[in-house]
């Protein structure tokens, strides 16, 4: 008998941390984006995706609304808006 001794890889995705957002959430304006991907690099949740210019968006199932994507965006193409 073993009980819980092993956890499955990547299974944290079951945990939808998007419910943690309280104040604000990012809005990807998709107008001045240069596809530098810095937002992808800085996102603590790894929940931003996109490859071509003006295609970047985030998965609100996981976004905790920290705002670092807006902070790093060199084109101010991500803004934090009030969480509905």
């Amino acid at each position: 008998m073993f009980g819980p001794i092993i956890a499955k890889p990547g299974s944290s995705r079951k945990n939808k941390t998007g419910s943690w957002r309280i104040e604000s959430k990012p809005k990807f304006l998709q107008s001045n984006c240069i596809a530098c991907k810095l937002c992808i690099l800085i996102c603590p949740e790894g929940c931003i995706e996109g490859s071509q210019k003006n295609t970047f968006h985030c998965d609100f199932d996981y976004c905790k609304g920290c705002g670092n994507c807006a902070s790093i965006c060199p084109k101010q193409d991500i803004v934090m808006v009030k969480q509905e």
Binding site: M1, G3, P4, P9
Partner: protein
């Protein structure tokens, strides 16, 4: 093949026959000869293994944890303070269900510092999750390592196992040992096939955080595994016997048939007790010995069956639980609680701490004291004169 070997060399040799892929240890007396022997075998190209000298026992245990988690058979050895520096890691290895095998060359715990033998070190780790074997002589020391690996690595067990060898008495004692051949060992102990390990093709997360919703089941599972071990170990002993011709069990019964006074003990002292039993039997005394070979899982049932109907039992602990009844005595008493055929007397004796010899006379004294009155925790061969000096005398002029 019969070989005349120092105990440590014999252990080094049998461990090398088990082909551990990773070996790590830190020097501590009286364990050192074992790993020195293994280091030489690696240096001579006779053993293919990663032998790694580390900066502490904590790291030795951690290193073999890492090796075992990666799916390789591993080995380490230590004594006393070293075992306690490993203790944090050993609980962890048990909780992570990794089949690490180690040897404890039993030695007294500090303070005062003593490099000599008793069993306070390993006995104190009885709650750690380690399977614990105790050897009476070097042949048993050799054989128990083979059994330890087989048991630890069984897919239904996956727990660390420790073979306890009385420091100096066995580690430095030279005896004739029937050393198995590599072919025999390979047959009895095939290559380790881990049921789970750190593998980039099948990534797993080991050693996670368990909150109150999950932790208790991990401990319960180990406890259940121990119950299963008790059930299938006779089969393993049987397999060992047919492979190597030597038979073992949880306990060894020595002249118990008609005995009315029996000593229960673990380790090398059992050899001395056997001699005394032989001597006293010649004089018509109905005395015997019950040797405990496996402390974890604790073989309650086997002990109760073996001692059933015997009126007086002396439990000899070469360890103690400061502030309470000695550990082995306590567990044996608990095993009999509520049983109809319990011995009338289960007396507890403590002897041989810090390397004080347990002589034949010490054993005879225990048999002598095993009379109508139950005794709890009598120290044998104590020097009362050493206890007379008041602290004021020791401290000299310092006033209180």
């Amino acid at each position: 093949m019969k070989e005349f070997l120092e105990g440590s060399q014999a252990i080094a040799k049998v461990v090398s026959l088990c082909r551990p892929g990773v070996i790590s240890a830190y020097p501590i007396t009286p364990q050192t000869h074992i790993v020195e022997g293994l280091a030489q075998l690696v240096a001579d190209g006779k053993l293919d293994s990663q032998f790694i000298n580390v900066e502490s026992e904590h790291s030795a245990a951690s290193l073999v944890l890492g090796g075992s988690a990666t799916g390789v058979r591993v080995y380490t050895a230590t004594s006393a303070q070293g075992l306690f520096l490993m203790a944090e890691v050993l609980f962890n290895i048990a909780g992570m269900r990794l089949p690490v095998v180690l040897t404890c060359a039993n030695r007294a715990m500090s303070a005062p510092i003593s490099i000599w033998n008793d069993q306070q070190d390993s006995v104190s780790l009885r709650d750690s999750g380690l399977i614990q074997f105790y050897a009476e002589n070097n042949q048993e020391a050799v054989d128990l390592h083979l059994i330890a690996y087989r048991l630890a690595e069984d897919k239904d067990v996956m727990l660390p196992a420790m073979v306890c060898i009385d420091g100096y008495i066995l580690t430095h004692g030279i005896e004739t040992v029937d050393m198995p051949t590599q072919e025999e060992v390979d047959k009895f102990l095939p290559r380790y096939q881990p049921p789970y390990n750190l593998d980039v093709d099948h990534p797993l997360t080991l050693g996670f955080l368990a909150d109150p919703d999950y932790y208790m089941e991990t401990r319960f599972a180990i406890q259940e595994t121990y119950k299963e071990i008790v059930k299938f170990m006779p089969q393993l002993f049987e397999q060992f016997s047919s492979a190597f011709g030597r038979s073992y069990n949880f306990v060894e019964k020595y002249h118990l048939e008609d005995a009315d006074k029996v000593i229960v003990a673990m380790g090398s002292v059992c050899g001395t007790i056997k001699d005394v039993v032989d001597e006293l039997r010649k004089k018509g005394k109905r005395v015997g010995l019950l040797k405990i070979m496996v402390l974890r899982p604790f073989p309650n049932q086997q002990i109760c069956n073996a001692l059933k109907g015997i009126s007086r039992i002396a439990v000899l602990d070469r360890a103690l639980s400061l502030g309470s009844i000695a550990p082995l005595a306590s567990e044996i008493k608990a095993s009999f609680f509520g049983k109809k055929k319990a011995p009338k007397i289960i007396s507890s004796f403590i002897a041989g701490l810090g390397g004080r010899d347990i002589t034949k006379d010490s054993i005879k004294e225990i048999f002598r004291q095993l009379n109508q009155k139950e005794i709890t925790g009598n120290f044998i061969d104590l020097k009362p004169e050493l206890l007379q000096a008041p602290l004021e005398t020791t401290l000299g002029n310092r006033s209180f």
